[in-house]
């Protein structure tokens, strides 16, 4: 198989985290994000890290998958770290090069910010690793339902999301094919200077976009012939039942937010 670790890929180990209601998981992720935003020092970070680790272990998914999930964003993490190091001028001066001084606070804040980012990405991977896209959609439509009161259709939003998730791998695959086709005609992306690469990317964008539209057209026909009508009533294949475990799951995240926030203000 080509890309073993696709975005949105569910790894089924049958753990209890897999069985948690997707609505609970989505809500929990928002709470987790809030908790991480409130983390400002080492102790809350350690607490959040331990909390994350406990849940990652509970999924029974090998930890290396979570590390892999965070990997693509390492540039961003390094960037955040460097920015903090360059701009913060509190604490003890550690190191001096020319007019720039590295302060202890800058180092510590940079590390915290970068680690926070790593935690966020790898932990939110729990959501996609433990939930099939179908359940995720249904959870999403459940969570977004209140939006219908202000005239936003949850059904349309989730349909868009699910089709995007469904076609990302297909379109990526096709992009690879076009890159290869162009390389076969002498336009090898790898060997060109940056400026030329940019130009070639534009010429890549056109066929990919055209074919995406063609796919969309086919998909519309297929959906229409299967009787799909926006806004028409539908029954649901996946059954979502809220259990006390789901409430407990959310509560654990509320506790995390509370602890982190309290630690920040004392």
């Amino acid at each position: 198989m080509r890309n073993k670790l696709l975005f949105g890929r569910c790894i089924d180990t049958g753990s209890w985290v897999h069985a948690v209601d997707p609505r609970a998981k989505l809500t929990a992720m928002v709470l987790y994000l809030a908790a991480l935003l409130a983390v400002g020092s080492w102790i809350p970070l350690a607490i959040a890290a331990a909390f994350s680790l406990a849940y990652m272990l509970a999924t029974q998914i090998p930890l290396k998958y979570f590390v892999k999930a965070a990997k693509p964003l390492w540039v961003l993490m390094v960037f955040i770290f460097v920015i903090q190091c360059l701009t913060v001028d509190e604490g003890v001066a550690l190191w001096q090069i020319g007019s720039w001084t590295l302060y202890s606070e800058g180092l510590s804040k940079g590390l915290i910010a970068a680690l926070r980012m790593a935690l966020l990405v790898s932990f939110t991977a729990i959501l996609t690793f433990t939930t099939t896209p179908g359940l995720l959609n249904q959870g999403m439509s459940g969570v977004l339902k209140p939006l219908e009161k202000i005239g936003i259709s949850a059904e349309r939003l989730t349909l868009m999301m699910s089709i995007a998730l469904r076609f990302i791998p297909t379109i990526l695959d096709e992009t690879h094919k076009i890159v290869k086709a162009q390389a076969a005609r002498g336009a090898d992306l790898k060997e060109l200077p940056w400026k030329e690469k940019g130009k070639l990317l534009v010429s890549l964008l056109v066929p990919v976009t055209v074919s995406a539209f063609r796919r969309a057209e086919d998909l519309v026909l297929s959906m229409e012939s299967r009787g799909y009508l926006i806004g028409a009533p539908r029954s649901e294949y996946h059954l979502l039942v809220w259990r006390s475990r789901d409430t407990g799951f959310i509560l654990s995240f509320i506790v995390l937010v509370a602890v982190v926030v309290v630690l920040r203000f004392i």
Partner: protein, 279 residues
């Protein structure tokens, strides 16, 4: 609805995407319930457009399409649509769900079927199409042939009376194509379906009951596959090549060796052995 004899009756149907250029012009034909009809013709002759008209995805500019006794129009389409299933060419682009079972369930959800019934049908048609072991798979983990089986399962699960195959086998390899043909044969045998197949595949045409030849937006011929493959001029204008056994039987006939027209290659071989023994 099922009492009527014809699945389709088309009277003087015309269609144009742009008003000057008509794609279909004055098509009149009927397709009896329970039959298997091949729609053939060169690229650009309007086959796929006709398929979309038959599927109710496009509306005719003139003339009428009657489906099982009901005239197809804006008011009746929602009543007729559940009777018609369509399988398209590209297996990837008709895979809506993110797993096999979700894809089969997609059409059923639209029918508002109770959950138990959906689960029952997903299992039933999954097993029937031999994809029961793939139900939890993502489309990227399936081969083209498997995806096309999913497409057929998703259509049959909605239990339509008419199934339209729009070049459904043209993107498949030889083996998968043979498997899809076997599925269509089984569907025909069950007697539950009217099958309309748009195809370039000689083998598939051979097994159907009738071939309707479209040329330049009109019906050029409506004949048995046997007759089609003996009409060189027609074959050439459709850009078709007769199956090998037919070519062989015809060449033998020219040499004075008579072999009756047979459906399968093995039968022809058998007949030739018989001739050889009787010599």
């Amino acid at each position: 609805m099922s009492g009527t004899e014809n699945a389709y009756e088309l009277h003087q149907v015309s269609f144009a995407y742009e008003s000057e250029q008509s794609v279909l012009d004055g098509i009149t034909l009927s397709i009896p319930s329970g039959s298997w009809v091949s729609l053939v013709g060169p690229n650009g002759c309007g086959k796929s457009t006709l398929a979309k008209l038959l599927g109710g995805l496009l509306a005719a500019n003139a003339g009428e399409v009657v489906v099982e006794g009901t005239v197809l129009n804006r008011e009746t389409i929602h009543q007729i649509r559940p009777r018609i299933g369509m399988v398209f060419q590209n297996p990837d682009n008709q895979f809506i769900g993110s797993t096999v079972e979700e894809d089969i369930a997609f059409g059923l959800e639209g029918r508002c079927l109770p959950r138990e019934e959906m689960i029952h049908r997903v299992r039933k048609y999954g097993d029937k199409l031999e994809i029961g072991h793939l139900l939890s798979k993502h489309p990227s983990e399936l081969s083209g042939g498997q995806k096309q089986r999913v497409a057929v399962a998703a259509i049959l699960a909605m239990e339509p009376g008419i199934v339209i195959f729009d070049e459904a086998s043209s993107m498949l390899d030889e083996k998968a194509r043979g498997e899809l043909l076997d599925i269509i044969k089984e569907m025909k045998q069950s007697g539950e379906y009217t099958i309309v197949s748009i195809t370039h595949d000689a083998e598939e045409i051979m097994y159907s009951d009738r071939a309707i030849v479209l040329l330049d937006g009109g019906v050029a011929a409506d004949l048995s596959p046997e007759d089609l493959f003996h009409d060189d001029a027609l074959l050439q204008s459709c850009r078709l090549i007769a199956p090998y056994r037919i070519q062989l039987v015809r060449e033998l006939a020219k040499l004075g060796v008579q072999v009756p027209p047979l459906q399968r290659e093995e039968e022809v071989t058998e007949a030739l052995w018989q001739l050889h023994l009787n010599k």
